[in-house]
């Protein structure tokens, strides 16, 4: 009986949160203007997503996040392999990478605005920059930490340097590469949403949240926040599933 309930355990937290929300709404602890009922919020979300303005902004944010992640992965993965292949080369650029990885990407907005103007490119460029550093460092570490025994095993069987790199080291680095991709896409989403709020934006989830707040349309604002949350969760899940498929040996 207790075991039979186990699959529903994750739902309990959701039900609990909604119950608390209703309680807060009905008891008027919070000003109803600031906290609409869950019903109103989900209605706003449904209306917005079913062909409304929210779905348009949602797609825009997805586009920007996906493009910036693709640019980041496309540049950082080859560079990470290159840097990781030589421990000494990586050590010589490690500080620079760590420094900019630790720099809040939002601090780079003004610079990128100067470079790319106020259009779409800036948002994508900043997000790609932030994500690329995260991916780069993970790929390089994945390559550097390739199991020595495995490399030796391939070499002893007669594999050339290129065969060791493509047949062993690259595959060895894949679990860590996926960690980088997952963190990278999360960071890209954060940067894109922030960028959509401020830099002369006309669309995107960040813009939707900001605009709804300015118009004091709270159900719409909460709806956009939840949409952004769902997007972040969904992207993470997507990469987890992809990882389980492409890197089936990860953690085993």
């Amino acid at each position: 009986m207790r075991k039979a309930l186990d699959p529903f355990l994750p739902v309990l937290g959701v039900i609990g949160l909604i119950a608390l929300w209703y309680l807060a709404f009905w008891s008027r602890i919070v000003d109803p203007v600031l906290l609409p009922s869950p019903g109103d919020t989900f209605r706003a979300m449904y209306k917005g997503m079913a062909g409304g303005r929210l779905s348009f902004d949602f797609v825009k944010t997805v586009e920007r996040t996906v493009i910036s992640t693709l640019i980041a992965a496309g540049s950082a993965i080859p560079l990470g392999i290159f840097l990781g292949a030589s421990q000494r080369l990586y050590r010589s650029v490690e500080f620079v990478i760590d420094f900019f990885r630790s720099t809040p990407a939002s601090a780079m907005f003004p610079l990128f605005l100067v470079l790319f103007g106020v259009g779409n490119e800036t948002k994508i460029a900043v997000a790609a920059f932030g994500a690329a550093l995260v991916i780069l460092f993970n790929v390089a570490y994945g390559v550097m930490n390739a199991r020595k025994t495995r490399i030796l095993a391939a070499r002893v069987m007669g594999a050339s340097r290129v065969q060791v790199l493509t047949g062993v080291v690259l595959l060895e680095s894949m679990p860590q590469t996926f960690v980088g991709l997952r963190n990278g896409v999360s960071l890209a989403l954060v940067i894109v949403v922030v960028a959509e709020m401020f830099i002369g934006s006309t669309d995107g989830l960040g813009h939707r949240v900001f605009e709804a707040q300015q118009l004091f349309n709270m159900p719409d604002m909460y709806a956009a926040i939840f949409a952004a949350g769902a997007l972040g969760y969904g992207l993470n899940l997507l990469f987890l599933v992809a990882e389980r498929y492409f890197v089936h040996w990860s953690g085993k």
């Binding site: 025994t149 495995r150 070499r155 002893v156 062993v168 894949m174 040996w249």
Partner: protein, 276 residues
Amino acid sequence: MADGAVRTRLATEGVPSSAPSAAPTAPHVTVRGLTKRFGNASIYERFDLDIPRGKLISVFGPNGCGKSTLINIIAGLIPADAGEILFDGKPLRAIRFGYVFQNYREALFPWLRSIDNIEYPLKLMKQPKAERRARVEKLVAHLGVKIDLKRYPYEMSGGQQQLISIMRALVVEPEILFLDEPFSALDYEMTLFMREQLQRIFMETGTTTMLVSHDLEEAVYLADRILLLSRGPAQIADDVPFHAARPRADATLSEPDFITTKAHCLDVFQREVRRG
């Protein structure tokens, strides 16, 4: 000293030689003047060794005497500082050989199914797919292996994984097989099982085999010769023949020949440990 090392010593005190050794044939592997240093520590200093053909040689000695280093140098995993190692007069790159690591988890490729792991060295030799499959099937039939090779290594037990490693080393039909403490990561039950597997493989193929072991019972049980090393720079403390008929079984362990041979090896080992 070098001369003494080259000769196979027979009938050492207390060890009866059950059969006079066969007419001396040309050694399979000749090591001459091997020198290896790690920093200031001299591991091998003008070391000579002959390895006979078609025999199983166990290498045994105190910790840090360079047992693994010896087969790693012979198998080309570590470069020697000086010296010459020839296989029938040829260098390593001209022969086919197999090497089995102690750490099977890290030596197998987890992204490849077991069968593809075994085929990997054949792929490096650019053999076509059909031929590779045929070679593996032949090996499986030869060894009587009953494992589902479609599975990934991480889905298998430790013993099965090490068996896959050994098959990967054997599939190229090596002229010589190196094993570096192949069973020391396995539990006792699996170790006993794998000893029998290795003995069967050796009897089936007759491949010259060099086994590094840290378990004296295992070293003697499997060996035609037990090479006892002294501490650095390593010398051959003794080179003990063991002629019990194959297949050997649990009963072998209680035969007088086994007991005296093992006792003698232990004596030599203790002497070397104390000297170190």
